[in-house]
Each structure stands twice: as structure tokens, then as C-alpha cells.
Amino acid sequence: MRNVWTIASRELRSYFASPIAYILLAMFSLIFGYFFFSAVAIFVDFASRGQMGMQMPPMNVDQFIIQPTLGNFSIILLFLSPMITMRLFAEEKRSGTIELLLTSPVRDFEIIFGKWLAAVLLFACMLAISMLNLAVIFLLSTPDWRALLVGYLGLLLMGGTFLAIGAFISTLTKNQIVAGALTFGAFLLLWVLDWVNAYSTSTVGKVCQYIAIAPHFEQFSKGVIELKDTVYYLSAIGLGLFLSKRSLESLRWRA
């Protein structure tokens, strides 16, 4: 565990020593801020119409602000997470520092888990920023904080999944751009998988829908922990890390 932390903390310091972390966090706060703003604006619009006597559905901040804002998170992840993960291994392979890691008395899994953990922690910084936005709602209203907590748990799981897949792809190449492009492509595919087959009832359609990453978040955003979705995310993270380990091992055999 100590080795994992050694590697994770170096990786984190590296994120913050370069502009990467700041640029990503700034972009994130801008985009998330916009999503949050638009959700609030719609809510205010609807509320004022209701006051003018129009027929409106019953409204609450949970359903009208928190749920859609969290739901949009997967779009941000789609674009930003490749930038978090593309350098993880590609950069080490390019600069030769991978040789230091692989000749140190640490296990391959500790290296991978440490690096993934660093990426997840950077993502957690993004979550923290998003909480600042949502805190405003708590000043003005009384949303269900337990549901919100579950939503954040879901985000962490979904983010972990994206990052684990991204980490794996980064082990495949020495070139950050190649890693980034492949990761983005893979995420895009996993993203559109469900809308291509949204109305299909065939087995293939169902399988595609199950594989897609984002739909599994829906229940979390409503504050429901669904076993099916939790298992999906955890096994996807496991698969990503396992493939990374295999890929790192194969580095020794191919070299």
C-alpha cells in the first residue's frame, strides 16, 4: 500500500507541477458552471411561469437542478478524462522512466493502481469544485443531501471507469497524442453505444445498452444505488486495471 501511495503522490505532484491539472480544473469549472447555470435558469424560468398562473408540473430542486447537472457530468468526463489519462504510461515509456519503475522493488499492480489512483484523485478535485456550485442550492433550499451523496458516489465510480480504460490505453503506446485519440475514440464509442440501440429490443441491442457507460449512472443521479450498476462500474474498473497490468507485463516480453 505504501508503494501505491508513493507512486500516486508523485503522479499527483506531477499533474500539479505541470499546467495540465490547472487547465483541466479551469476548463472543468467553466463547463460545469455553465451546466449548473443553465439548469438553474430553466428552474427559475419554470418557477416564474408557475407564479404567473400557468399549469406547471410539481417542481423540486433535486429533480430540476441536481439530477440534470449530474447527468451532464458524463459529457465532461468524455472530453476531459482522456486528457487526464493519456500521459499516465505513454509519457513514462517515451522518457524511459518506466525503466526506473519496472526495476524497482514494486509490483506491477502497485504501479498501475497508484497511477490510476492519482487520476481518480485529480478527478475528485473536479468533484470538489462542482460541490462548490451545488452548495449554493443548499443556501437557498433544502435538497436531499443523501441523494446527492449517492450521486457523487456514482460519479466517482463512473469517473473511475473512464480513467481505468484510459490508463489501459495509455500503456499501449509511447505517444501521448495516440493514447489521447484512442481513448477519446473508445469513450465516444462507449457513449453512443446506447443511443444507437435505444429502441432495439434485440439481444444485441440490450448488450450494447448494458455495455455503454453513461446509462448506468442514471439511477445514481436519482439517489438510488442499484446493484447492477455498481457491479458494472466496479467490474469495468477491474477490467481496465487488469488489462493495464497485462499490457505492462507484455512490455517486458516484447520490449
Partner: protein, 365 residues
């Protein structure tokens, strides 16, 4: 301390290392000598557990590299060809990271960092980012990184590659200071480098172990095959005849000359007194003597000398003038080879040559 038995490494269809067997005792400094692509790096990578062997075994401090890789890695400090540093980290932070990675207990890391910073003379750049350091400093950070957990075995892959002469001298001194407590393997393609620090030289060529002996013994085996370059102002026909007549001269071949002078490569069997003999002949004949110096042997020559039988080696040396062997060889010997000297353009100022002979002197000391 290190035991390598019938080690073979295959990359697809190419054999990088062929059936190498050797042992290194505790406290020895062993130099791997060989041209680029000879299999030095591959052998080192197998020892460090970075690569698995295709067949054969290797063990370090009694632990097999395949069966107990973590134990092996604890005992090895490794400096790859390019130092594995993170440019965005400060020297101190980097060493702290490597220390923890190598399993030094948290409480002792600071102390170890202090000690390697002092040992590798990194005090001035301690807080600087590694990316801002010069190549020489970066190499020293690489050395510090290898030393941080005070390993019993040190493996350095071309530790002086790309450094300037002063930095080379510093790195050599550092390695020299480390001997005794540590078992050291270093690789190089420069003969004089291992000659000056190694207690044993292992010559690898084309993946095969060609020789393993002390520098003194190897030199003795190669003696009798030294070439001299001599530049004379005199009639070529007479020169060839009279030089051949000098005792100990095995062969004379003409190089191109300029400004009325001719350069000759003289193959000798004994080095000891022949230079003065040659000089006397030249002076007595009333010719001008512009230059006389030994031609550094390129690695190619050494392999030829060591591997071929006596006769074959001699034939090869005569058929194929040293100039060509030097030109084919990708490796720079410390001294310019005959071909380089001969290829110097006419207008080349004489300082050039003095400069190179100064370097020779520095390298020899």
C-alpha cells in the same frame, strides 16, 4: 554476487544475447565492452529484472531474476543509458520519490537523500527542477538515484555517454570511489574507459561473450599489434624501404599526404623502443618528421585481434588498412583513428590535432 549461466535473449527472429556465461565476485568492477548493439544493454536489463531471459538463468545476490524479482531489485541500483528522471520534479523531490520506491523506511529517506546529494555533488542544484539541469548534472542525478538505497550491486549502462571530458573524469572518479563496498557492472564502447576503472573486462560482440579477463592480460594479448602513424617529408619509395628495414616493423602502408608530406601507417610487433628508432631513421635520412603517434585501436580491431587466430589477424590487418576498419567502426575511440587524421582537410589548423592529443592525455591519466 552475480551469476549468469547460458543466458540467451531472443527478440523475434534476432538473437540479442547468445549463450553468455559469467560470474562477478563481490567488490569487483566489471566493464562490459562492445560496440553498439552488441547485447550489453540487453544483458544488463535481464540482470535488473526489466527483461526476462529467453533461456538460461541469471541470479543476483543469490536470488534468481525470474523467481524472486523483487528481492533482486532490492539489491540492484540501475542507471539506464538515459537517466530515468522526471524533468518536472526538483532533484530533492525526485530522490525522495526514488528512495521510497526502493523501499527505504520513511524515517531514513531524508538521511539517504542527504548522503547521495553529497556523494554526487548535487548540493548546488538540490532545489532545481531536473529539466533545467545540464546533461552532466542530470547524469549525476541518475547516479544518485541508483545509489539511494545503498545497493550491493550497481549496474551502469554507458554512464559517461554524451558527457564532456571534465564530466567524464568526474563520473569516473565517482565510480572509482564506489568500488570496494559495491559490486559494479558498467558498460561502454570506449576501451580506455574500462581500462582505467574496471578490474575485469568482459568483451561482448554480436551477442556473444568474446573475452573475459583483467585489463592487463587483455592488453598483453593485444600487444604486438600496435600501429603507428608517421608523417614524413621525403621521397615515398625510399621512405617505405627504410621504414621497413627498421627492426620490429611488420608492415608499412601509405596514407594520403599533403603539402609534399606523406603519411604512413606502420605495423609494429613491439612498441617499446620503435618510435625512437623510426625517428632516428627519418632524421638520419635528412627528411622532415612532422608527426609520430600510436593509432588508437578501434573496437573492431580488438575483436579481430582477440578472436581471430594470430595469422588470420595479421593477414586481416595488412589486407585491410587500419583506416578502413576505423571508418567502418561506429564507435569513437578516444584518439582519432588514422582515417580521421588522414581525412583532415588541408586547411585544418594544427591546433585541432594538439587539442585531440591533449584529450588523449586526459583520457590516459
Amino acid at each position: 554476487m552475480i551469476k549468469v549461466e547460458r543466458l540467451t535473449k531472443r527478440y523475434g527472429p534476432t538473437l540479442a544475447v547468445k549463450d553468455i556465461t559469467f560470474e562477478v565476485e563481490k567488490g569487483e568492477i566489471v566493464g562490459f565492452l562492445g560496440p553498439n548493439g552488441a547485447g550489453k544493454t540487453t544483458t544488463m536489463r535481464i540482470l535488473t529484472g526489466f527483461l526476462p531471459p529467453t533461456s538460461g538463468t541469471a541470479s543476483v545476490a543469490g536470488h534468481d531474476v525470474l523467481e524472486e524479482p523483487l528481492e533482486v531489485k532490492k539489491h540492484i541500483g540501475y542507471l539506464p543509458e538515459s537517466p530515468p528522471v522526471y524533468p518536472e520534479m526538483p532533484v530533492e523531490g525526485y530522490l525522495d520519490f526514488v528512495g521510497r520506491l526502493k523501499g527505504i523506511p520513511s524515517g531514513e529517506v531524508n538521511q539517504r537523500v542527504d548522503s547521495v546529494v553529497e556523494g554526487c555533488a548535487l548540493g548546488d542544484v538540490r532545489q532545481k527542477l531536473i529539466g533545467q539541469l545540464s546533461k552532466g548534472y542530470r547524469q549525476r542525478v541518475g547516479l544518485a538515484q541508483a545509489l539511494i538505497h545503498d545497493p550491493a550491486v550497481l549496474i551502469f549502462d554507458e554512464p559517461t555517454a554524451g558527457l564532456d571530458p571534465k564530466q567524464i573524469a568526474e563520473v569516473r572518479q565517482l565510480i572509482h570511489d564506489l568500488s570496494g563496498d559495491h559490486t559494479i557492472i558498467l558498460s561502454t564502447h570506449i576501451l580506455s574507459e574500462v581500462q582505467s576503472i574496471a578490474s575485469r573486462i568482459i568483451i561482448i560482440n554480436d551477442g556473444k561473450l568474446e573475452a573475459s579477463d583483467t585489463p592487463q592480460n587483455l592488453m598483453a594479448r593485444m600487444r604486438g599489434h600496435e600501429s603507428l602513424l608517421i608523417e614524413i617529408d621525403g621521397p615515398p619509395e625510399d621512405v617505405e624501404e627504410r621504414l621497413l628495414a627498421v627492426e620490429g616493423v611488420n608492415g608499412v602502408s601509405r596514407k594520403n599526404g599533403h603539402a609534399g608530406r606523406t603519411s604512413w601507417s606502420v605495423e609494429t610487433s613491439k612498441d617499446a623502443v620503435i618510435r625512437s628508432d623510426l625517428a632516428r631513421v627519418v632524421v638520419e635520412s635528412g627528411w622532415g618528421l612532422y608527426e609520430i603517434r600510436p593509432i588508437g585501436m578501434s573496437l573492431e580491431d580488438i575483436f579481430l585481434k582477440l578472436t581471430a587466430s594470430e595469422d588470420a589477424a595479421e593477414a586481416a590487418a595488412q589486407d585491410e588498412p587500419v583506416a578502413e576498419a576505423g571508418a567502418d567502426s561506429p564507435d569513437e575511440t578516444e584518439e582519432p583513428t588514422a582515417s580521421e587524421a588522414a581525412a583532415l582537410p588541408q586547411e585544418e589548423p594544427p591546433e585541432e590535432q594538439e587539442e585531440s592529443s591533449k584529450q588523449e592525455g586526459a583520457a590516459a591519466s
